[in-house]
Symmetry: C2
Subunit: 328 residues, 2 copies
């Protein structure tokens, strides 16, 4: 699959650039501190700034039900900083040295400060959420963070488990990845006092594109080009994580090839990516995982029938397509 030189994400975000600028201002406000050593750390973390997909979803969900309120930018910033905090902790777990071509916090200042900085960012998020007049985000987002952690713990717990079921795989990625997408949308809708049916439909849409997003991530970890994706690949093999393409391979392979998969997984060698890739293609395991992601995106699109028609809904259709089109 080739990609346009114009980023499909850029097209998606252009209509809400001004609102996203408010989110950026809120992120900056939350990332300041009178203590110089804190400021240096927060400035460094600010350089990881990613695609801002989650706050974009908060804003789009909010605009669907009327003019945005100031709380939308605040909650968008909180959702993004929750994501940042999980990344800071994930980089410790993965012993990563680089993120978006910038030194990770753990590499720069050590694991201890990285653990504490992640905690500080979480606490800042909850402080900001608690300060909002509307209580929804505060009550809901803390629960979502607990769910994200539970998903990650289950994933660590099930490493080296070649017999992982698809049910457990989906439970893990729904918790660790998709729950925060759903929350980004739901908060946007709730702050706008959206009708419950529409608010729930947006959360369901978010859950499905979130799961699809993670499946594509898992595929890219096996098939992507590092230069394009912009991060180390093969890390799931290195960490002996059974992802959907590997589950589909296990299901389809003959006894000999299944044994080969087992050896590759347990070797913890991400260089083995090259040896497993032909197998994945031969058995159609990549294609099968991709079809599942496509089916989830289709389900997500169907959820949008229950939300108001208009330019915001069109953006959410485009976001669903982006999830499948992205190569990084």
């Amino acid at each position: 699959m080739t990609l346009n030189t114009v980023s499909p994400l850029g097209a998606l975000l252009d209509p809400i650039r001004e609102d996203l600028a408010q989110v950026e201002a809120e992120i900056r406000r939350m990332s300041t501190s009178p203590a110089p050593e804190m400021r240096a750390l927060l400035d460094h973390v600010g350089r990881f700034s990613g695609k801002r997909l989650r706050p974009a979803l908060t804003l789009v969900a909010g605009r669907m039900f009327g003019p945005l309120r100031p709380e939308h930018a605040t909650v968008g910033a909180i959702v993004e900083l929750i994501h940042t905090a999980t990344l800071v902790h994930d980089d410790i777990l993965d012993e990563s040295a680089l993120r978006r071509n910038i030194e990770t916090v753990n590499r720069r200042v050590g694991n201890e400060t990285a653990v504490l900085l992640g905690d500080y960012l979480f606490a800042t998020c909850f402080k900001e959420a608690a300060a909002l007049e509307d209580r929804f985000a505060s009550r809901y987002l803390a629960e979502i963070v607990a769910i994200v952690c539970r998903g990650e713990i289950l994933q660590v717990h099930r490493r080296n488990d070649i017999d992982l079921t698809e049910e457990t795989y989906f439970r893990i990625i729904e918790d660790k990845t998709a729950a925060l997408y759903a929350a980004a949308l739901r908060c946007g809708a709730e702050i706008a006092h959206a009708p419950q049916e529409a608010s729930r439909a947006l959360a369901e849409y978010g859950l499905r594109i979130g799961i699809a997003f993670q499946i594509i991530d898992d595929i890219l970890d096996l098939t992507g080009e590092e230069a394009t994706v912009g991060k180390s690949l093969g890390t799931d093999l290195e960490k002996a994580k059974m992802t959907l393409p590997l589950l589909r391979l296990r299901e389809r392979a003959n006894a000999r090839d299944r044994e080969r998969l087992r050896r590759v997984l347990l070797s913890g060698d991400r260089g083995e990516r090259d040896s497993i890739l032909p197998l994945l293609r031969e058995y159609g395991a990549i294609a099968s995982a991709r079809e599942t992601a496509e089916a989830l995106v289709e389900e997500a699109r169907r959820e949008l029938r229950r939300v108001p028609d208009g330019p915001e809904r069109a953006l959410l259709f485009a976001a669903a397509d982006y999830v499948l089109a992205r190569d990084r």
Copy 2:
């Protein structure tokens, strides 16, 4: 100093045993999960259960202004679980294997799960705080956790800094230790709708006994018996942390002894405790640090003039004395 065989803390907690049982019930409720792998981790963490000093302060502060509300037990449990979450993360930072003679989470299930479990506990605390009708705890406790993290980050940042000022030392321990004591008391008072002057006085009292508590901890790390204190000692020297006794030694020592302190500190060898101890005694550095703790406890007692007289105030006087009397 010799100690009674009857624990002075036991005498302090006896009058509120029934209320503390409610706190225990709340901690158990917050430590359950439908996911079996989470349950196993939460059960393990439950075995660390400590002296429950912080929730005891919440309860005593609450009872000072009328019958306790159910929220008091909930907030007491939250404060204790915040403390537990910081311990789970601290044990990773310190690479500790044992806490209260039980395997630490990091030793038992690895650093990755320990980081995530700490995050899960923090999120659970904020979720429970956000669910309370009274908004004070939710707004206040997230800020306190950010302050605790800031204090710990500053402490890591200033390791190996033999020129640390006393001002910075006090800022660190006020943030990392005393702020949570102050919060435990303040939350208890606020949930009871205490008058502002009394609520603030209790927070000031908490801040001062918290700082004194940490100074005594820092002294015990240099002078205590491991069998009595129940944890590894000399860890501040190992981590090259300048604590108050060491600051007082630096201030008083002649050039040769100051140089010796510098070498011991930078050696990162906790076995050097024995070589520095005679110096600390010779220059009166331990006694000087202890006098500062005593003066802080005296200030704390003076704050209690601004709170209602009665059995609860008597308990807080006893708690202040306990801070100085404890040998572990």
